[in-house]
């Protein structure tokens, strides 16, 4: 009996229940992993040739085709246009959604859940799926791409902006209302100044994500540099593909830097 008490006093990081929980969690993940591997067995018969194939692709890409650069300037600018317009469109649509999805500004429970629904659907459907839909609506071209980007961004902006609105100081809103302001004026003078830094920061952040996303819209015919990339890949013009990839890489990194800098200013 004494020895058992002694053993119980040994320090342990986790109690028994948490240990078992952790163990079961990891075990469950491993079981699913193995089951997944077996399920996909038909497709994974040639894993050993993969490094060779990828190496082969990379050798064919080198050196990048510099003469191809003038041809991709136009599509690249189009990509930036899509990202910019998509972000603006999203901003216009996301502000009302955010007001609906914030507990303190939504008129009633039904509008609150409507706001949540819009946010959820927008976020769960990937940009490229939105693009598929809007290519049917607007025909192929960058307009479809910009609208797809906008619809994908509504969820992101609506959710984060809504959380921001929930944290504002409501006393100021009451003060503006007490001065006899209309609901539009309450919005402009009571709510907007409090969320403006967040609004600017989030928009810039989303713009940066949208630049990345708009590089792929061309695969389903929604404009941008993806059209060129798709064409080059299908023509097996690997050196042109390398050029496009390097250009995309440059633009994405530049927009990431710009976005980080602008967000630094708003903080």
């Amino acid at each position: 009996m004494t020895s058992r008490t002694e053993a119980a006093r040994t320090w342990e990081r986790f109690d028994r229940r948490r240990k078992v929980g952790r163990f079961l969690g990891v075990l469950g993940a491993l079981v699913v992993f193995v089951a997944s591997w077996r399920f996909l067995d038909t497709g994974i018969t040639n894993v050993e040739t993969v490094p060779r194939e990828i190496n082969d692709l990379l050798t064919r890409m080198y050196p990048p085709d510099v003469a191809y650069v003038p041809e991709i300037v136009g599509p690249l600018v189009e990509t930036l246009h899509i990202a910019a317009l998509g972000t603006v469109g999203a901003l216009v649509l996301a502000v009302p959604v955010a007001l609906l999805a914030a507990e303190n500004t939504t008129p009633n429970a039904a509008t609150y859940w409507l706001g949540k629904l819009i946010v959820t659907v927008s976020r769960s459907v990937n940009t490229i799926i939105w693009a598929l839909i809007f290519v049917v609506v607007f025909g192929s071209g960058p307009l479809a791409g910009a609208v797809a980007i906008a619809f994908r961004s509504i969820g992101f902006l609506g959710k984060l902006l809504g959380e921001e609105i929930e944290e504002i100081d409501f006393g100021q809103v009451e003060a503006v209302r007490a001065a006899g302001a209309s609901s539009t004026q309450v919005l402009i003078y009571g709510i907007l100044p409090q969320v403006k830094p967040a609004l600017v920061g989030l928009s810039v952040y989303r713009w940066d994500i949208n630049v990345r996303d708009s590089t792929i819209l061309g695969f389903v015919g929604a404009g941008g540099i993806g059209v060129q990339l798709f064409r080059a890949v299908n023509a097996f013009a690997w050196q042109s593909v390398a050029t496009i990839l390097i250009v995309i890489l440059g633009v994405v990194l530049a927009s990431e830097g710009l976005s980080a800098y602008a967000r630094g200013l708003t903080r």
């Binding site: 699913v32 990828i54 809007f134």
Partner: protein, 266 residues
């Protein structure tokens, strides 16, 4: 004049008001150029939304024949399986990459090499990676797994490396001072400090991987995306909306699981 000067004006981040207006003007001009560049005139948008409403009517109600429903389930399981394998392999590869990409644990050349790899992985969209991998290894889930693994390494190694840079080097030094070998230092000094974040990040990335695995099929890399594209190309919009409902449902479940697990670890 003097009184006017003393009027309080809200400060701006641009330091001078002229810069502020110049910046606003520049941004507005760029947006106008964008609108003109992609042909977004209001008439076309209005017409488009008319057609959008018609399409919305075609989408409802979501419908799938038993055969189509079986295909959705089949391909959805494939998507989830792809996400699961990619998460495990991605994390396994991320751990050494993260250690080599942490400034305080890795020599400079290795640090830059791994940072470069992380930037590359993060900058390229999953669909772009998928289309290249499909060309390299052929159509099917293997291409999807490679793609999502590659994307996982960029995300996971970056965040893990940042955690590693933030660890308390004092406890690492303490372990080393007891005469521990480099491996022992790693196991007893570094690893315990990052385990909680590690678990949270893994589940978070798994959740993102489920989302990604539902779309890489659009360029032939396996999973439900291929079914979606075929349905779109055949104009069977009710089938499309059934697939979309299935995708949204799976994504929501994954998000829920991930949120619950992360809350437990934090």
């Amino acid at each position: 004049m003097a009184a006017e000067r003393r009027t309080w004006r809200r400060p701006t981040v641009f330091r001078r008001r002229e810069f502020k207006w110049a910046a606003y003007l520049g941004i507005a001009a760029f947006f106008l150029w964008s609108a003109w560049g992609i042909g977004a005139d209001p008439a076309r948008i209005v017409r488009g939304f008319g057609r959008g409403l018609t399409l919305l009517g075609d989408f409802f109600p979501p419908e799938a024949t038993p055969r189509q429903a079986r295909r959705i389930v089949d391909k959805m399981v494939e998507s989830v399986a792809m996400a699961m394998i990619s998460t495990v392999t991605g994390i396994a590869i991320s751990v050494p990459v993260a250690f080599m990409a942490a400034e305080n644990l890795s020599p400079k050349p290795l640090y830059y090499l791994n940072r470069g790899f992380i930037s590359l992985s993060r900058a390229l969209n999953a669909i772009i990676v998928a289309i290249l991998v499909v060309k390299a290894v052929g159509l099917g889930p293997l291409a999807g797994i490679i793609t999502i693994t590659f994307k996982t390494v960029g995300f996971f190694a970056k965040l893990l490396a940042e955690d590693l840079e933030d660890i308390d080097m004092g406890s690492v030094d303490a372990v080393r001072a007891t005469g521990a070998s480099p491996v022992q230092t790693l196991i007893y000094g570094v690893v315990p400090q990052i385990v909680p974040r590690f678990a949270g990040l893994s589940v978070y990335r798994w959740d993102i991987n489920i989302r990604t695995s539902t779309v890489v099929g659009i360029v032939g890399a396996g999973g439900i995306g291929s079914v979606l594209l075929t349905a779109f190309n055949r104009y069977s919009y009710q089938y499309v909306s059934a697939i979309l409902v299935a995708i949204i449902a799976v994504v929501l479940v994954a998000e829920g699981v991930s949120a619950v697990v992360r809350r437990r670890y934090q």
